[in-house]
Structure formats: C-alpha cells, structure tokens
C-alpha cells in the first residue's frame, strides 16, 4: 500500500459528497480511561460530557501506558433530532458485537481491531450512558469473544 494511495483515499474530499454518514466527524476530546474491570480504553469523542459520564460509570482517568488501549470512538449526533430511545437490539457477527437503541443510536465493538464505534443520539441522557451504555461497552470490550449473555446485569429489568 503506497503512501500516495493512502493520501488519495483520505483526501478525495468533495463538495458534491458531504459526509452523510458522519465518518469524518472530528473527535477533539481524547482521554485514557480504566474501567472498573481494569480495561484500558482510549475514548475519542466530540462530546466532552461523556468524560464525566464515564467517571460516573466507574471509569478512572489515567495516563496512556505501554498497553495498547481499546479504542472507543463515540460520536454525539448533534445534528439529528432526538428520537425516543428504543429497545436494545443486539447482533453478533464474526468479530463484532452490534447494539442498537433505536433510530440512530448504535455502537459496535470489534474484537479483532480492539475498537468500539458508537453514534449517540441527543436522546441518550447521562443516566442512559452511566447505567447502560458505558457498562455494556466495558463488558463487550473486555469480553468481546464471549459468545452469550454479555449484557451487563445493570441493563436487566429496567424501564
């Protein structure tokens, strides 16, 4: 793979094709976190409130170490109107866990690349992040290869 090719792919920017999928949304906030179960994660986000919410969910801010962190790229979908949060629907593919909370809020955890990508609608409140999404993200990131019943106990039976 040549450097020229790499540059071309990234720099094929066009006014005709805006970033409809939000692929290239900037994530200016980057922090290292250690989850309550000891997982080191590098959280990249465009919503600084997620940092304090991660701490409320039991994560500690730490310095990056020599261990390769699990990358969490979490994008708040500022432009999309809020929708009611739907039921959590999950899917498992070869190397990924996928979770949807209804229209536009979804995330995936890729065990092979040690990455998690998420889009969070405006309807996803601090309480939902702290009680549901961060615990689930931590569980899935830590146990990405476990086959069954990975949802955190905190998710069960809540309305």
């Amino acid at each position: 793979m040549s450097r020229t090719n790499l540059a071309l792919a990234e720099e094929t920017v066009s006014l005709l094709t805006p970033d409809l999928l939000g692929r290239f949304a900037p994530t200016p906030y980057k922090v290292y976190l250690k989850t309550s179960s000891g997982l080191l994660a590098l959280m990249e986000t465009n919503d600084c409130m997620l940092i304090s919410q991660a701490r409320l969910a039991g994560c500690r801010l730490v310095r990056g170490g020599s261990t390769l962190p699990f990358r969490w790229r979490l994008l708040r979908d500022w432009k999309r109107p809020a929708h009611p949060i739907g039921a959590i629907t999950s899917l498992r593919s070869n190397n990924c866990f996928h979770v949807s909370l209804g229209c536009g809020t979804s995330f995936s955890v890729d065990s092979e690349f040690k990455e998690a990508f998420g889009f969070l609608g405006l309807e996803v409140t601090q309480a939902v992040m702290v009680r549901h999404i961060f615990p689930l993200l931590s569980s899935l990131s830590l146990c990405a290869s476990y086959p069954l019943n990975l949802a955190s106990p905190a998710m069960e039976n809540r309305t």
Partner: protein, 323 residues
C-alpha cells in the same frame, strides 16, 4: 428499557446463494420464508463461482410487532456502517470483512418491496465498493445492446430524461443509481429494478403519473415512485455493457448541445461524486477507482439542454444513431 436479547443468536439454518449485481451473496437466515423470497428475487447466476463475495446474515425477530417503516438513519465510521429503521430493524455493514448482519421484524419477511427497493439497494450502495461494484449516481439506458450512462447533479433531470428516453425506445436500467463492475466479459452495468422517482412537477411531462399518488420517499422527499413498465409501459433492462457516458447539464436556452468530455474530466467527476472513504478502506477505494477509469474510456460528452425531457431524449437518440 427493554433488552431484546443478550447476543443469544438463533441458528441461521437457512442458507442460499444470491446473485446481485454480478456478485455472490451468501444468505444465512432463520426464516425459510425470507430465504425463498430472496432466492426467487436474486437467483444464482451460472457464470458466477461458488464462493460468496459477501456474507449476508438476517435474523428475523418473531418477538417484534408490526409497525410502519420509519425513515432510516445511516451512520458510519472506519469500516463499519449502521443503518437503523426505528428500533426494530437494524443492519450493520462490515466493509473490511464484506459482511452484512441485520435483524428485522417477522412481518418484513413477506415484504418483497422492502427487500428489493430498500434493503438490497442499501446493501449494494454501502458495501459495493468493497467487493468491486462501483455504485454510481447515474441513470443508465440500453438500446440495441448498448448502454448509455447519464450523470449530473441532483435536480439536473436525470429521472425525467430517463423516462423520456424509455418512451423513445430505450430500455430503462436505472434512473438514479447504477452499479458497475468489471466482469471477465468487460465493464458491466447493473440495475436493481427499483421504481423510478419523479418529483410532483413531472406530471406536466408525464400525465400518466396522475394515476398515482406521490409518497414520502426514503429521504423524506415527496415524490412519485412508480414501476416504469407499469406506469409508462416502457421496456426495462437489468444489465448492459456501457458504451457512452453523458454528463447532463441544464441550460436556460431552449437548445441542446453535445460537447466532448475528456477521460480525465469523467474520472474527476465520478470520483468527486462518489462517497468519500476512510483510509482503512483504501482497497475498496482503489477497486472503485479502477472501474471509474474504465468508464472514463467510454465515448463521453457533456449534454447541455434547455429542451423538454422528450425533446432532449430525441436529441440523445439522434446523436447516438449518428455517432
């Protein structure tokens, strides 16, 4: 908050190979009804090999109840793309592993239009570049076994011109998105037999539309979405070999002009019109670019017109016959 399942996946015991736009899709699903529906809609082509280019897993969730299909929301980052339709229909696309996984409510298993008009075009549009299919924002029509591709800005009039060309003797392959791949036989364009989409003001040129009602399309736009052969009694095609490329431009003058268009300009236009891909998908980017370079070798012209769709169509027909 309701948790529908905890990754306890049901067995996807029904397997089939589908042929879509010249590629093999390995379908795995827990629904025999869906397997039959998709196998009939996309029967396996003999010329394709046995290996699947894409794995397509669909889990039918019997617990979900009926609902209207909401407007989809698409998001993506790096190699993953998500498509959510409310809380009951959810698809993810892995562009590095050529893998699609989805969950749908059981009432969608019988809904042929949902699969043919919505899901399959989305799958090809999102994943195409990764498997050597270039999804191009072009209309495509066929006459005497030769395909013409018509590109242009949104609103330039590709769809109205396409229907007028179809009424003028061309077979309609696509009015909006054409999927081009390089087969051993050469450059090949595919359509997915989706309805043509015409804005409400098209009734002035196509009075037959008055028999239909405009509906809200996937992007929320009010439009007529009609089966061209039913609405206009025109011929349709599903595949062709492209021979000419036209870049449609509107003119304020009541004239039509053809100007040669260089290969470089065609390449630049199509590259700029295509979806921007992240660095991780450089292989997909290069596959798409290779196809675009092949298209750029076609006879290419700017077609500038201020005429009605039917007069413009006649101008293209005359031009093709004289060149």
């Amino acid at each position: 908050m309701i948790v529908r399942n905890n990754f306890a996946e049901p067995q996807l015991e029904h397997e089939a190979v589908l042929s879509i736009a010249g590629k093999n899709f390995g379908l795995r699903t827990n629904s025999d009804v869906l397997s039959v529906l998709l196998t009939r809609a996309y029967p396996r082509e003999g010329f394709l090999g046995s290996a699947s280019d894409v794995i397509f897993d669909v889990r039918v969730d019997n617990a979900t109840e009926k609902c209207e299909l909401p407007t989809p929301c698409f998001r993506g980052t790096e190699h993953l793309v998500f498509a959510t339709f409310g809380s009951r229909t959810f698809f993810t696309f892995d562009l590095l592993r050529n893998y699609v996984a989805g969950v749908v409510p059981s009432d969608r298993t019988h809904d042929r239009a949902f699969w043919q008009r919505v899901i399959i075009p989305i799958v090809i549009g999102v994943l195409g570049s990764s498997v050597g299919i270039a999804p191009l924002h072009c209309a495509c029509l066929v006459r005497k076994s030769e395909g013409i591709m018509i590109s242009g800005l949104s609103g330039a009039g590709k769809s109205t011109l396409s229907v007028a060309l179809a009424q003028c003797g061309f077979n309609l392959l696509s009015d909006d998105w054409t999927y081009v791949t390089q087969l051993s036989s050469g450059l090949t364009a595919f359509g997915l037999s989706v309805p043509v989409k015409l804005l409400p003001d098209a009734t002035q040129f196509f009075p037959d539309l008055n028999h239909f009602s405009p509906t809200s399309s996937l992007n929320g736009e009010l439009a007529y979405e009609v089966n061209a052969s039913e609405a206009f009694h025109v011929g349709q095609a599903t595949t062709c070999t492209p021979r000419r490329f036209f870049l449609l431009q509107r003119s304020s003058e009541p004239v039509s002009l053809f100007r040669p268009l260089s290969s470089r300009d065609v390449s630049n236009w199509l590259e700029q019109s295509a979806e921007r891909l992240p660095r991780r998908l450089i292989a997909a980017h290069n596959r798409r670019r290779t196809i675009i370079h092949e298209i750029a070798k076609l006879q290419s012209f700017v077609f500038e017109t201020g005429l009605s769709p039917h007069d413009s169509a006649q101008a293209i027909k005359d031009f093709c016959e004289s060149h």
